[in-house]
């Protein structure tokens, strides 16, 4: 086989390799574009603000959730105690506007913790928050079942499942 043919074949091989990379980059590009809208938080559809108490350290906003059984009752701080949030199949709690329960407190992470329905029980799971979530006095490590009467604390806000 002549040298020229070999050179042409070698260039073809390298072209093929770079064509592969071109397709890889295109795949990554398509994926990044598809991902982009996921980053923006969806606004809460209906938000009913709890009457904001003067001087409260935390301001809590609640959406009207569907009646799927669970409720969160705010126990502390006293300024907002007694507020009730209906829980959906999955309710997120955090500082970001897109959360199901918004707690505007610098010690609360944007996406702090979530409550979700698994089989017949409610589960609570910390979403990698900076300051952690306390369940019945203990720091929450992993997803944990939660039953009515249990209390979770996020920042200063203590809530009871009912």
């Amino acid at each position: 086989m002549s040298d020229q043919t070999l050179i042409i074949l070698r260039i073809c091989l390298l072209a093929l390799v770079y064509l592969t990379f071109f397709r890889v980059l295109r795949a990554v590009w398509v994926e990044l574009k598809a991902e982009a809208p996921r980053v923006t938080p969806t606004p809460v559809a209906v938000a009913v603000p709890v009457p904001a108490p003067v001087g409260a350290s935390a301001e809590v906003l609640a959406p009207t959730g569907s009646a799927s059984g669970g409720q969160l009752l705010v126990v502390a701080p006293p300024a907002i105690a007694g507020s009730v949030f209906a829980l959906g199949p999955e309710t997120t709690i955090g500082r970001a506007a897109g959360c199901g329960v918004v707690i505007d407190d610098p010690r609360v992470s944007k996406l702090h913790v979530r409550l979700f329905r698994a089989a017949d029980t409610w589960m609570v799971e910390d979403l990698g928050s900076t300051n952690g979530t306390i369940l019945n006095g203990d720091m929450l490590a992993d997803a944990h079942p939660i039953i009515p009467g249990n209390r979770i604390q996020v920042g200063d806000v203590v809530m009871e499942l009912s």
């Binding site: 390298l14 592969t20 990379f21 890889v24 398509v30 959406p63 997120t92 900076t130």
Partner: protein, 442 residues
């Protein structure tokens, strides 16, 4: 959020469905297969101007391996990133072609190609096995102490008299029964899991305030790395483990200061090692001026430099160069062989494949919600990137040479199998993320 949108979410489900990552992967795997077959045929043309006699069986065997890896991913991790597996297969394939081509010329290398193809099959089996055994990456956190002890035991295994073997100056081999392997390759994955789980527990402390005792872990890691270097004479692994720990510590604590402390400790360790050990001094001298003794100590690096220079832009052509002049070309110096026969274009392709792998790995880490998974994926990606950098940098004389394998490319069973396990863990993590929509949206 309203009830209707919630119901729609549960029905549409897997978030990856619209992206069809496996269809993309199938296309890429096919292209990688074509590249490998063309390269294999070309290497034979170049060396002996004839179509390789075993092209048929090679074609079937290799395409079967690629297909099995792809189909297993389709079944076991359908939502995973579509580009990581093809990139690993491309690196493995190009490495195999080079090893097969070298096996004709390297003295005593006639078995290399057969062994490497067996190791590739074992590696892909390990990849599939890992996907089966690890349904969720976070379960590894439950075995953190077991993994930590296993990792350290594996690291120390070559030092145990009955198991340890010293080959080519470094005491990094162990032999159990008939099998020789490098336990360090597997230790790195176990230790990445251990470091991640350990630092998740202590990250609160690391973030709040810094006391002297918070520096204890980094000190222990430093001492451990030094011990590996002193006792096993393995500079590459020592640097790899220390970098792994510092990077994971940095990400866990979110304090850039630890990078600084790590750099200072590294510099201290390097100076200490340089002043105490002649083999370290020798490596540094070769790095600074390999042409001081081109036929002696500097021979390997000098030959590698000549090989790279000979390659030029597009290389001498597969099978037409003389990479077999470089000692250990099939393991540590395979990058120089690719640089000679495929030139700058070919070696850049290897670099790009690593960049894509590392980029995808870091993206998986960025998207991880839970701290253990984030730290673990950062650790795995760091291992891959730093190991590739250490050896490619060594070959190119960017850093002093330390013998370590180029992941997926170099000849070597331990390295291939361990890196396929590492890849499987990244793929598993990537798949988990696609299954669960990011909570921000719910």
């Amino acid at each position: 959020m309203t009830a209707t949108s919630r119901r729609r979410r549960t029905r549409v489900a897997p978030a990856y469905a619209a992206l069809k990552p496996r269809r993309v992967e199938a296309g890429l795997v096919l292209m990688v297969g074509v590249v490998i077959v063309v390269a294999y045929a070309l290497a034979s043309f170049g060396a002996s101007a004839s179509i390789p006699a075993n092209l048929g069986p090679f074609l079937v065997w290799m395409l079967a391996l690629l297909l099995i890896a792809h189909l297993a991913t389709r079944r076991l991790a359908p939502g995973a990133d579509p580009v990581m597996l093809p990139m690993a297969l491309l690196l493995n394939g190009l490495g195999y072609v080079m090893i097969a081509r070298l096996s004709n010329d390297v003295p005593g290398g006639s078995d290399l190609a057969g062994l490497q193809s067996t190791w590739t099959a074992v590696g892909i089996a390990a990849y599939i096995g890992t996907l089966v055994v690890v349904p969720r990456v976070r379960i590894l956190a439950n075995y953190r102490y077991l993994l930590g002890i296993a990792g350290m035991a594996l690291l120390a295994l070559p030092l145990v008299p009955t198991f340890g073997r010293q080959i080519n100056g470094a005491r990094i081999w162990a032999s159990v029964g008939p099998i020789n392997f490098q336990p360090g390759e597997f230790a790195k994955i176990a230790l990445a899991a251990f470091f991640a789980a350990y630092l998740v527990e202590s990250r609160e402390l690391l973030r709040s305030r810094l006391e002297l005792r918070d520096l204890a872990p980094i000190g222990v890691a430093w001492a451990g790395s030094l011990a590996v270097m002193v006792l096993e004479r393995d500079l590459g692994s020592s640097l790899l483990f220390f970098t792994l720990f510092v990077v994971v510590l940095w990400v866990a604590s979110e304090r850039a200061m630890f990078l600084g402390i790590g750099a200072v400790l590294f510099a201290g360790g390097a100076v200490l090692a340089w002043s105490m050990f002649t083999h370290v001094q020798q490596r540094v001298d070769i790095w600074r001026d390999p042409f001081a003794s081109p036929k002696g100590d500097g021979f390997q690096i000098v030959e590698a430099s000549f090989a790279l220079a000979d390659g030029g832009l597009t290389g001498t052509g597969l099978g037409q160069g003389e990479p077999d002049r470089i000692p250990f070309v099939e393991t540590d110096f395979i990058f120089a062989a690719i640089g000679e026969e495929l030139g700058l274009a070919g070696s850049t392709a290897i670099l790009m494949a690593f960049l894509v792998l590392i980029g995808s790995g870091l993206r998986v880490a960025l998207r991880a919600d839970r701290p253990f998974e984030k730290l673990f994926t950062v650790g795995l990606t760091t291992l891959l990137g730093v190991q590739a950098f250490i050896i490619m940098g060594g070959v190119l004389r960017v850093v002093p040479l330390t013998g370590i394998t180029l992941p997926f490319v170099s000849y070597g069973g331990s390295s291939l199998v361990a890196n396929y396990i590492l890849l499987a863990l990244l793929m598993r993590m990537s798949h988990e993320q696609r299954l669960e929509p990011v909570p921000a949206q719910s």
